[in-house]
Symmetry: C2
Subunit: 424 residues, 2 copies
Amino acid sequence: MEYTSMSREQLQAEHAAVSKEFDALKARGLKLDMSRGKPGKAQLDMVSGILSILADPADCVVDGVDVRNYGELTGLPCAKRYFAEILGCKSEECFIGGNASLTLMYDTIAKAYTHGLLHSEKPWAKLDTVKFLCPAPGYDRHFKISQSFGMEMITIEMTETGPDMDAVEAAVKDPAVKGMWCVPKYSNPEGVVYSEETIRRIAGLKPAAPDFLLMWDNAYCIHEFDGDYVPFPDILSLCREAGNPDMVFEYASTSKVTLPGAGVSVMATSVDNMKYMTGLLGIQTISYDKVNQLRHVLFLKDKAHTLELMKKHAAIMKPKFDAVVSALDEEIAPLGIAQWKRPKGGYFVSVDTMDGLAKRTLALCKEAGVVMTGAGATFPYGVDPRDRNIRIAPSLPPVEELEQAIAVFCTCLKLAALEKLLAA
Amino acid sequence: MEYTSMSREQLQAEHAAVSKEFDALKARGLKLDMSRGKPGKAQLDMVSGILSILADPADCVVDGVDVRNYGELTGLPCAKRYFAEILGCKSEECFIGGNASLTLMYDTIAKAYTHGLLHSEKPWAKLDTVKFLCPAPGYDRHFKISQSFGMEMITIEMTETGPDMDAVEAAVKDPAVKGMWCVPKYSNPEGVVYSEETIRRIAGLKPAAPDFLLMWDNAYCIHEFDGDYVPFPDILSLCREAGNPDMVFEYASTSKVTLPGAGVSVMATSVDNMKYMTGLLGIQTISYDKVNQLRHVLFLKDKAHTLELMKKHAAIMKPKFDAVVSALDEEIAPLGIAQWKRPKGGYFVSVDTMDGLAKRTLALCKEAGVVMTGAGATFPYGVDPRDRNIRIAPSLPPVEELEQAIAVFCTCLKLAALEKLLAA
């Protein structure tokens, strides 16, 4: 029976029962973590081969480059070819970075502020106002970059097919709107795959700002955990064909393919942008870690071989997502107090509760020993206007711990809903 | 006989002979490189063990941290302890970065511009003028960072004991002077070790700018190639004792200890600075490559073990420096057309020619197939006011190639000097 259809007496009885459940869970002194999209130990162990794949100094010279020494700012040619195949772009459009695509994203924004982008009239630090479009719910670390630079973030509603494009097209008419964050495949946190139509409209935007920056974080481009690999279009080609060749910077990494802390990142952009950005990046570093780039190319080989590895990750991930969604289906669906998506890839399950329950639910979870991403984190400035979105990250705990954690979550969500309904 | 004591006839005869020598060298079609401080292949091969030292996933958990996963922004505790011992500071003062200390330096300056430092009144991007002290000859990549951000660089003369401290103390009275570049041990390119007195005066500076930034690039802190390890004082303690606890950021790396392209870098600064900077750095990355940090700790162990390894590097490096200095002593010293230092550590030999010979000498070298660091590179804006400083980097070529390269250099220098004297 849905909570909203219950009488006050029924709600009181349910509250008493759920409170008892909560107290029992709390008494177990759990310490469980569903806060971040961290791969679990089984996934790390699965790729141990990468640790020792490059052991012989004779193997350290490739394409005429000794990977151990300084040099090759834009990355090893073989690493650029590898990522170009994954992303569907050209190898000369790829810049291979260190272990974090987040750092490449930050660097792009930072250089927009300190030096300006290729088509900037001046560095953004010299502007009074910089606005940025933030489809939400979205990735908290994107929003934190924007916030750190003092941008004015404009929330764009996420739909089943990606950002609300009518809103985006209207917003970019303002020359102070300098860019947009996008996670086009298995968006963080909802797992939405942008539709072909959405992507076409994004590539064809006519922003007033000549240096509009499309931040295309393709973090989950090959990260299906349910079903076959879903092809995606090359955003660089689409932007070029739409007359916006220099509008987009695309990012990806092997953080959730090999080792989260020791992977390789890539930034893909037009050759003209690449020329401009390497002029700036060459001041900052001589080269990124090419030994690790070569390890990755030797271990991952090519797209086909990488997709096989992703199937093995999926085999570890799917039972975890199933555990979360099954618990929600069983425990929460009949009560009508929340909704959620059923993603087929990415690292999250996004739950929308009845308005006003997210903070309280997560506070209760914390009390019962389950850490989750903070409420509001998926919105600009950390403020969810309806206090309802909760990001569940099921990847880190083993299934048996996860089942306990999600049971705690369901109990806390029920309790929060009952408290609210009884207070009304 | 010194060239300046020669008659015109003698000079003409010498010019004819040296020209013939030059033509013969040029005809050999050499392709030799003394341009950058790159370790040679024998040095890289010597540390091959680091490639496979961490192969077992069971070894990947240290201090309770799985180094393969995300986390630990400031670095692995054991890596911080390792660098703290090398630098003589505390481990909580160490931030472990990626493969390039240059990037940590750039990031510090970039954050001063975009966000300001701990004691900044506003971000430097909001200031009309930012001046920076540049002891010269110095490291071209430092000067390029300053130039890239549009700083006004003020050249400070280098002496036998470090930067001219009278000039420095006078300059910092200007509140627009926001910092200074320093390479305190085996300075690039001269190999000068700052004296105790110089370091004491630097630590005790009373800059007008509250956010004066002492960029202490201790790149060659354990890089003796001739003689025993020379201890150096902990600049963090000295600044703290002088009442300037937050003035200094120190940098070092293993680029010339293990692998130049795949080492580990460190930034050391006060705990207050660390707290402020990690607040900004945590927006930029989740963590640097801890797998590589652990490889380094396992391979290098501690300071004593690292100094043993540096002796092995020295055994490879010293014959190369000897070859350069011997050739200069034999071929150039009697002619009175240049002077040079005899460094005991670092990666360079710095030659000061008679005024006005550097560019021409290097152009001739290029013609004869020997690439060197560009003339002027060791000065702000790439302009050597007396056109005389040449940086020789002997580390990369094997000794037999190096002997050829330095022979070419000597011939070119002679020819440049003769041309100039004959034109006078």
